[in-house]
């Protein structure tokens, strides 16, 4: 596994409220990290910092062994794609136009090439939204929008995918499909980091659980070993417990 992302001593606060306090995190190609924690624990902020949208107050982020500050913004976009929690596209872009924007960091052409259109179609077919390509984004349902945004991330063809609650608005079948696609991306050598709340999805599809609490990484465990030490569950609720599915996978349930 080659190291792709190094977060070293990163701190961030909103005014006087400290959100991240000297975070260290390393992740490599082929990993699928679930970034979990209660509301306001700093998951989205950490993704914002890794994507370069926010600058940390202290510490640094290295992508491919090179400091983020040394990369041009466009070079970062070729390496890292970010799925935001939600977008408010008031202007009537179609689903296909939005996905096409994922190709912008890769070309200087005024309009997309045939190769770009093939990548757009492949990404939209993978997330089952190709049939909605001509519809305006704002006319789509929440779940359809989420699939279009995921397709835009895939079309960007970056080495690392940062996903802020990728299963929001998706029905159960689509949640499973979305995480299967992300697992395939990780297995093909990419790094996926998903901020999420569904612990069972995380345990089923991800390779690592990174639990944020009180501004620090409280636990960083492999999902295969999550069952060995259940103390990490206490971060979320005292009512949680864990058992094993008939297939042998760990399963979180609540009393």
């Amino acid at each position: 596994m080659s190291l792709l992302l190094e977060v070293e001593g990163v701190s961030f606060s909103y005014g006087s409220r400290s959100v991240l306090n000297s975070i260290d995190l390393r992740a490599g190609q082929g990993e699928f990290l679930a970034l979990v924690g209660i509301n306001g624990s700093g998951k989205s902020t950490l993704l914002d910092i890794v994507s370069g949208f926010r600058s940390p107050e202290a510490g640094s982020v290295l992508i491919g062994g090179r400091s983020q500050r040394e990369w041009k913004r466009r070079e970062i976009a070729q390496q890292v794609s970010h799925l935001p929690q939600a977008i408010h596209a008031d202007l009537p872009f179609t689903a296909e136009q939005l996905v096409g924007m994922g190709r912008y960091p890769h070309t200087d052409r005024w309009f997309e090439s045939e190769e770009d259109h093939r990548a757009i179609r492949a990404a939209m077919e993978r997330t089952s939204c190709w049939t909605q390509r001509h519809r305006t984004f704002r006319s789509l349902s929440g779940g359809e929008r989420q699939r279009v945004l995921l397709a835009a991330c895939l079309a960007q063809n970056a080495s690392a995918l940062l996903l802020d609650e990728p299963s929001t608005f998706l029905d159960i079948e689509q949640q499973l499909h979305c995480f299967s696609v992300l697992r395939e991306e990780a297995q093909s050598g990419k790094l996926c980091i998903a901020a999420m709340h569904d612990l069972n999805l995380a345990l089923t599809y991800c390779t690592r659980l990174v639990v944020l609490a009180d501004g620090v990484i409280a636990y960083d465990i492999r999902t295969a070993e999550a069952h060995d030490n259940k103390r990490w569950l206490g971060v979320f609720s005292k009512r949680l417990d864990m058992s094993t599915t008939p297939a042998g996978s760990p399963w979180v349930w609540y009393q």
Partner: protein
């Protein structure tokens, strides 16, 4: 037809039609006016037809084309920056600043400065003051965002409107009338030197805006969206604010704060041609100029020999159109 060919066809088709409308307006609208002009008299340089066409109608048609294009492009730009189809240079306070500058000059009774109309200098100074104020505030906060620009714009609009009312109250009857007329916005005959300066500024700034068309697409979706696709959001917003302000201020200085062209045209192009700024922006420029020149021509012939200012004609079309746009927006937002 492949997706690339289809896009290229739509682009060529819509740009060609927009250009034809623009050139058609430039060639034909100067002939439209209260009194008929004889082509043969113009060709033989005979008075007064030759002077009316060249000195009056052609210059004001060209002014309308350039100013309308500039305002429409500025509208499309600010709508992308604020992610709102109803945003205009008014929303961000630029027009209000320019208006206050021009009104102050009219109220003081200053007319020209070395042959340059003082309303130009006033409008440009007012817009520049707003620009410095807004960007200065944003730099102090170390972060510029569409939201902070919007809030500052609303505050500046209120302050400028208050000062305009105060100045009008102390200006006396005739100057108050001049202020009211300037605030409606109108296209008047202007010197070709002024026109050339305006055209040069507008074309240069428009070209700079158009080269960033893909980035305006990204920003129109969201700041995080743009940042993670290679855009330096703060830098782009600052550039957009400065370039859009120059466009709007240059046009307003010569025509007054003409409204609605920056609202109607980008909205029509967005819904009828494409929301993609690579097509939207050039088409909005060409069709914005065409619409303003058309409104000016309509204002010349509707109640001859009197003239209705182009700003009033546009407001009469734009007001009902705005209501229609708002009614159209509701169902989509409720989904």
């Amino acid at each position: 037809m492949s997706a690339t060919q289809q896009l290229s066809f739509i682009a060529r088709y819509s740009l060609t039609l927009s250009l034809m409308a623009f050139l058609g307006a430039a060639f034909f609208l100067p002939w439209v006016g209260a009194g008929p002009i004889s082509i043969s008299r113009v060709l033989h340089h005979q008075s007064p037809d030759y002077e009316i066409l060249l000195q009056l109608r052609l210059s004001r048609t060209l002014l309308a084309l350039v100013a309308g294009g500039a305002l429409s492009l500025a509208g499309a730009l600010f709508q992308a920056m604020l992610r709102d189809a109803l945003a205009t240079p008014y929303t961000l306070g630029i027009s209000a600043g320019a208006s206050l500058g021009a009104v102050a000059v009219i109220a003081a009774g200053w007319e020209t400065f070395f042959g340059i109309p003082m309303t130009w200098i006033g409008a440009l100074s007012g817009a520049f003051a707003v620009l410095v104020l807004v960007l200065g505030g944003a730099i102090q906060q170390r972060r510029i965002s569409a939201f902070s620009l919007l809030l500052t714009g609303i505050a500046i609009n209120s302050i400028c409107a208050a000062f305009i009312i105060i100045l009008s109250s102390f200006a006396g009857m005739s100057r108050s009338f001049s202020i009211a007329r300037w605030l409606i916005g109108s296209i008047d005959a202007t010197s070709y030197v002024s026109l050339a300066v305006l055209a040069a500024v507008v074309l240069l700034v428009s070209a700079m805006i158009l080269t960033q068309a893909r980035n305006w697409n990204l920003l129109a979706v969201g700041e995080r969206w743009a940042a993670s696709r290679g855009v330096r959001v703060g830098v782009l917003l600052t550039q957009g604010y400065i370039l859009g302000s120059i466009l709007a201020a240059a046009a307003i200085a010569l025509t007054g704060p003409i409204g609605f062209v920056e609202l109607i045209v980008p909205h029509l192009v967005r819904s009828r041609i494409s929301p993609d700024h690579r097509l939207l922006m050039p088409c909005a420029f060409l069709l914005g100029g065409t619409l303003l020149a058309l409104c000016d021509a309509v204002g010349r012939i509707i109640v001859p020999p009197a003239e209705i200012p182009a700003g009033a004609v546009l407001a009469l079309i734009g007001g009902p159109y705005l209501v229609w746009v708002i009614r159209q927006r509701m169902p989509a937002e409720e989904i």
